[in-house]
């Protein structure tokens, strides 16, 4: 395993963003499994009583790091593999987690299908169990709704939030509109991404995917984002049909965070544009660090 930042090393002067040295071997992932108690709201909806727990499997790269650990949360119906290319790059500088959300990938598949707040509650529990210090939450697509929920539940455990390709725009919160755009978005995906996505959908089951999305349509991220008290980065690719420039600006304005618009980057940037996403995330961390030092 290659971890560039060794334990005990003093953190460089706001220099997380560095080009990878030539020939560096990107670290490989390890299995990471944590069991969290099922959220109370979900328990009340189901017949199962008592101490039901969900097993959240996922991947972990690197060991301990000076920099805050980074948690990448995947989008609708897919799993950790979707964010792995970005995670590998980020892992050269420290600890990176990519959990499979409950119901997705190899995590438990609870029924009834959990809503976004329920997923957030479970992930908050997962976060407390997995990391010691505050972490950077990177939500991709629908994952951004989950990380928003987590950041509001456990602010102390969150260092910063990155909303990559955040959905869903208020003006488009209709099935018809979303289906059309989703279909356009598919055209921007690489073949490899489509293969992964097909596998993940199969594992999650189409019914679960549709139900989760139904829950996502009822979320109001533009309202919740304003309540965040941690630095926020909104990140949008110019070739993303699901996220408009106006929406990204609106989100940024509501939370007073940063906005980056990445030319030529697609919606599934965590998989198809890992270089760009990892760079802007690290650049964002550097900026936070510089601002903190300037504020001291």
């Amino acid at each position: 395993m290659t971890a560039l930042t060794r334990p005990g090393e003093v953190r460089d002067l706001a220099h997380d963003l560095r080009p990878l040295p030539p020939g560096v071997e990107l670290p490989g992932p390890e299995e990471h499994t944590v069991a969290v108690p099922a959220p109370a709201a979900w328990r009340s909806r189901t017949d199962v009583h008592g101490s039901a727990s969900w097993r959240i499997r996922g991947l972990r790269w690197g060991t301990r790091s000076v920099r805050p650990p980074i948690v990448l949360v995947h989008g609708l119906g897919v799993a950790a593999r979707m964010v792995a290319p970005t995670a590998r790059r980020l892992a050269t500088g420290g600890l990176v987690f990519a959990p499979d959300l409950p119901g997705c990938g190899r995590s438990d598949k609870p029924r009834p299908v959990p809503t976004i707040p329920e997923l957030g509650e479970a992930l908050a529990a997962w976060l407390r169990a997995s990391t010691s210090g505050p972490a950077v939450l990177v939500g991709v697509s629908m994952g951004s709704q989950v990380v928003l929920d987590v950041a509001l539940r456990v602010p102390a455990a969150v260092h910063a939030v990155v909303l990559a390709s955040p959905i869903v725009e208020p003006a488009r919160r209709r099935w018809r509109s979303q289906l059309w755009r989703w279909q356009v978005e598919q055209a921007t995906q690489s073949l490899r991404l489509r293969a992964i996505q097909a596998g993940d959908y199969r594992r999650a089951g189409i019914g679960r995917v549709l139900r989760t999305f139904s829950s996502a349509l009822s979320e109001r991220p533009e309202e919740t984002v304003g309540r965040l008290r941690v630095p926020v980065l909104v990140c949008r690719g110019t070739r993303d049909p699901l996220v408009s420039d106006g929406w990204a600006r609106d989100l940024r304005a509501r939370c007073g965070g940063d906005l980056v618009t990445l030319p030529g980057v697609v919606h599934a940037m965590s998989h198809d544009n890992p270089v760009e996403l990892s760079r802007v995330v690290l650049g964002f961390l550097d900026r936070i660090e510089r601002r903190r030092r300037a504020g001291e």
């Binding site: 030319p263 760009e276 760079r279 650049g283």
Partner: protein, 335 residues
Amino acid sequence: MGRRDRVVVVTGASSGIGRACALRFAEAGGALVVTARRADALEELATECRGRGADVLVAPADVTDAEAMDRVAAETVARFGRVDVWVNNAGVNMYGRTEEVPARLWHRVVETNLFGVYHGTRAVLPWFREQGGGTLINVSSVLGHTGFPQQSAYAASKHGIRALSDCVRQESLDVKGIVVCTVLPGPVDTPLFRVAANWTGRKVVPPGRPVSADRVAAQVLRCADHPRREVPVGGASRFGVLAARIVPGMVERAGARVLSRQHFADQPTAPSEGNLFEPPDFGARVDDGWRAGSRRRSRLSRALLVTGLLLGVAAVIATARAGVAGQPIVGRYAR
């Protein structure tokens, strides 16, 4: 990567060729990072470029500062995730005899022109390697192929830029996506002549018929789309580069005799350090009006004609003496 998705960095963007490049790249859309010493000039340029549809980041920096260039590259990728085209354009000029000009001015020209390109190159190459490609465009000059009296610092630095480009091209052969282009403009209608340091006592005017900076910018864009090793801009410079290869001695003498006479007006000026150390508070624009005015045109077209004739004669002589190589150059030092 389409034009609209391109992330472009231009150094020395506040005026002249850099400004023309920025405007042209902005026209194509995508993201643009403009850098120069003058923040106010850059802000003004940025507004214009945004109006043309580009996403613009203003990053004031001095190319002589290696760390500042590193920061520009890092800011670029932090903001846009990528850097596709990096145009090393920033340059200054100085006129004066090698033995007469103050050494610190000479140093400064090389620092800005050659070290500046080096700093930009070393700042961007690691990112190119990480992302697996990128286009590096270095703006040299026809004076990267031949010399010119009273401009030794400039010509030496422009020769250096060519050599640097060649070396970097060889070094990055292992990454297929990295391409290095050198653009060789001749005299260009920019504020450069006016803001150049001048130790000759005479006013500098562009020799020959200067091409517009926009034409150079067009060539830079073409390089970004279809990279080429070295690209002369304009017929005169193409001819100059060719002639400098075939009959270097002839071109040297022609430059010393004909063009140097065309390069200085009979108008005395006090010695000045130009924009070498402090950016000027004027000239934050593309052209300097050298192409306007019919009187100058007639004089300059005459100059061009003379040059063309000389080069023609040179070509004939070159053909005639093919095979007779290694003739010593007999210098004429005294009258």
